[in-house]
């Protein structure tokens, strides 16, 4: 292959399209968010379908994207179930799809879910920053957001495209909650209040956090008006500001925070936070 073949030309992008991989944990003590794909199972599936290593970077699409690979290549779209087309003809979602040279691949707004993942054989090969190609939208570490006119380098294909392996039921169910470090700041067990809900996803949710609206969690009388010294935060932390409305910290969360963490979402359920949109209901259960 000539180098020119290994380029993905971005014709148009709407919403928020970013390059994502497993992120860059390990730099939190320097103030760097981990970033990385929000729906990890979907992104890993997309990579498997096109024969990529699990670490290959993909495009996370919240909106729509149209791309033109400079040469023939395999692609796969997973995550939010979206219409996918090549040269204007509908092709499969969740399967490896061949894109001939010069053809345009489009991913349109999903029928269900929020974020889709586009893997290209060889992976998006932008220059890594601190060991990762992920875009962090809090401090903007990593590559810039993907916009029309971008030309993204593509790596050499590592393997053969694979048939659909273990499809995940694309159903969002109740998220399992584990105990957080500051349960004593709340009036009663905060897991009870979080499980009771119900919660509605706020419109200002993003890659930093999933903001929830519902019956406000109440602080224990001994902690009303008190301030917590900022402390380290984990992915999936359910932080509760004085408003009582919880925020689930996602991949671009600040590395420290000054509000008490009432609970932590089970790591295996975090992907669901990527696939619930504004106005949708969300429930928790004890995990």
């Amino acid at each position: 292959m000539t180098p020119a073949v290994r380029v993905l030309e971005v014709l148009a992008a709407t919403g928020l399209v970013t390059v994502q991989d497993a992120g860059r944990p390990g730099f939190a003590h320097l103030g760097v968010p981990r970033a990385g794909w929000l729906d990890e199972p979907a992104a890993l599936l997309a990579n498997r379908l096109v024969g990529n290593e699990a670490s290959a970077a993909v495009l996370e699409v919240l909106g729509t994207v149209a791309v033109r690979p400079a040469g023939p290549t395999w692609v796969a779209v997973t995550g939010a179930c979206s219409p996918v087309s090549v040269a204007g003809r509908a092709v499969a979602f969740g399967e490896p799809v061949h894109v001939p040279a010069g053809a345009v691949l489009r991913v349109d707004l999903p029928m269900t879910g929020v974020r889709s993942y586009l893997a290209v054989a060889g992976g998006i090969a932008v220059e890594p920053v601190l060991g990762s190609r992920a875009t962090d939208t809090l401090a903007w570490v990593g590559p810039a957001r993907v916009e029309g006119g971008a030309r993204l380098p593509i790596g050499a294909a590592a393997g053969e495209p694979q048939a659909l392996d273990t499809p995940r039921a694309p159903m969002v169910s109740a998220l399992r909650l584990l105990p957080g470090p500051r349960a004593d700041w709340f009036d009663g067990d905060p897991l009870d209040a979080l499980v009771a809900g119900p919660w509605t996803v706020d419109a200002d949710s993003n890659r930093v956090g999933l903001r929830l609206d519902g019956p406000a969690l109440r602080r224990h009388p001994a902690y009303v008006g008190r301030e917590l010294a900022s402390e380290g935060m984990v992915l999936g932390a359910v932080q509760v500001p004085p408003s009582g409305k919880p925020v689930v910290f996602l991949a671009d969360h600040p590395v420290t925070g000054g509000y008490p963490v009432a609970a932590v979402v089970h790591p295996d359920d975090l992907w669901m936070c990527a696939q619930v949109g504004p106005g949708e209901r969300l429930r928790f259960r004890r995990g």
């Binding site: 944990p25 390990g26 730099f27 939190a28 003590h29 320097l30 103030g31 760097v32 981990r34 920053v129 601190l130 401090a139 570490v141 584990l178 105990p179 957080g180 470090p181 500051r182 349960a183 004593d184 067990d189 010294a229 900022s230 402390e231 380290g232 935060m233 984990v234 999936g236 932390a237 600040p254 590395v255 420290t256 963490v261 932590v264 979402v265 089970h266 790591p267």
Partner: protein, 213 residues
């Protein structure tokens, strides 16, 4: 409810709190203990992240029970760590310098003298990549009542007993006393942050920045 594991017999450490199943928070007396413990833990637990803060150390990738067992073996103290020493040239002409001096009952020259004579140490980072919270000042400086929407990179600010230098332009509520041109954050460098937890910092007053002076 949360099973808080209390710690006894380890000076400066009070408890280990679970953060889900695979992370835990160690509660300590102050930022100096958090820094010292975090540096000790960093080389002793195979964690994803070890994050010191004002009164805690978060260890991501280690259960509370495991961390509790490890922390029980800490015999270290909160002595100033022997980290690398960096000198930071500062022009002390910040918009809040006179106000800070007034609040502290000092002259501007006295504030500058005290700030440059103190050896600071980066207790922890946060807020932005490469933003360190530098301990060393004996002062308690209030944050601005109304944060600035825009703070220039290189601005040197005070808040509570901390000194901080803004690595990149951002909003900010710290009282600005000066400015520097050192590069605090370069993600392409082998050590991307000039200020890491444990780095010792000395501020040096200069009349002007640049020009290799």
């Amino acid at each position: 409810m949360t099973a808080v594991l209390s710690v006894s017999g380890v000076p400066g450490v009070t408890a280990v709190r679970p953060v889900g199943a695979t992370a835990a928070l160690v509660e300590v007396d102050d930022a100096a203990h958090a820094l010292a413990l975090s540096l000790w833990l960093r080389s002793r637990v195979a964690a994803l992240d070890v994050v010191p803060a004002a009164a805690t150390v978060l260890v991501d990738g280690c259960s509370a029970a495991d961390l509790h067992a490890v922390v029980g073996h800490w015999t270290g103290s909160a002595d100033t760590p022997d980290g690398p020493l960096v000198e930071v040239p500062v022009v002390y002409d910040g918009p809040d310098l006179a106000g800070v001096a007034g609040l502290l009952g000092l002259t501007v020259d006295e504030v500058v003298a005290a700030h440059t004579e103190t050896e600071h140490v980066v207790a922890f980072c946060g807020f932005a990549p490469g933003f360190g919270y530098l301990a060393g000042s004996p002062w308690d400086v209030p944050r601005l009542a109304s944060p600035r929407a825009w703070v220039e990179p290189g601005s040197v600010g005070l808040a509570a007993s901390w000194t901080g230098v803004y690595p990149t332009a951002s909003p900010g509520g710290w009282q600005l006393v000066g400015r520097t041109d050192v590069v605090l954050w370069d993600p392409s460098a082998p050590r991307p942050a000039l200020f890491e937890p444990g780095t010792r910092v000395r501020f040096v007053q200069v009349a002007a920045l640049g020009g290799g002076s």
